[in-house]
Amino acid sequence: MYKVSLLPKYYIQENELRKRQYKLLRITLMVMCVLLAIYTLLILMHASKKNELIGLRRENRELLKNISELEYLTALNNDINTLYNRAKNAAGNNPDWDKLILSIGSTVPETVGIINIEFNCLGETKTGLIRGLAIDHDTVSDWLETLNGLSEISDVKCVFSTQSQENSDDFVQFEITMNLNTGSGYMVPRR
């Protein structure tokens, strides 16, 4: 079987061209529809994002307004920090004197008489010296042991423990040295 067309050749060509044009137009229209849909979608997305941004900006403006109303507290807080640091540096890390004296004082045995106590803090060197009289050497050694257990002092040493005269009934004179531990540091006095 042969397909025979009796139409003139130019007519056939024109027909084919029209068909091709029509097909091309259909494709173009389809693409246009797809692009239009994409564009519409993008416009909607853009609008939604824009609204989101406007909302965020509004929220941020309100926050900044609230912040500016409370900003004086930052200045107050900074001033406090400056003054606190200044006071902390000035106060240093000397021992808590009341605790130190109290804890040493409360351990003094009844058979010990204190002649004097000296505490010195020269920079990082913090030392203590106790001179006293005890009834015997055992009392000195017992007290030395107790002093070694105190948290406010360390490196407690007996320099000497000696009878004043060569008489066993006489008092024993002693000298104890120690290092003073650093205190808790500066604290703002409370109400």
């Binding site: 029209r18 137009l25 173009t28 416009i43 406090i80 003054l83 200044r86 004197w97 009341d98 505490f119």
Partner: protein
Amino acid sequence: MKNTNRKDAGAQFLVLSAVFCIVLAALSVLNFMNIRELDEEIRLEAKALRGNNERLNFLRKLKELEPDLEYTFEVLKKQIPSSPEDFNIIRQIEAYSSGNSSEFVKIQFGDYKNEADINSIPLTLTFTGRYSNLLKLINEIMSGERLYRIDSIRIERLENSDIRADIEAFAFYK
């Protein structure tokens, strides 16, 4: 003739459609780029919002503590006054001493020391009294209105049951 016109109209329509497609594509690309820019702006704005929220929360907490902050500020200003106010030092020490039944024997001022952000006044103080009262006195000096740093304490037993305390300390001013 009619056929040729129809053909031209079809071609024109095709060209118009193609141009419209190109315009739509270009607009879509532009819109897409705008959306990306908006996304970036939203990201930055959201980040700023988070930061501002944290800042506001911090400030609200400070607001709750405002009475304490004001009190602390006033206390700190008194701890390190802006001038030496040595007259106040004598007055305070005297008050602490008499409040604790101790005798305020001596106060001696050394040379004022000027340092970068703080000035100090060296003091030598001497008290006599009972051990427990002197302990309270030292505690009061340390926790009083003005800041004092005690660098040395010498405690000596007196002939009666009292003791004598020699204290080397520093007071401060700005």
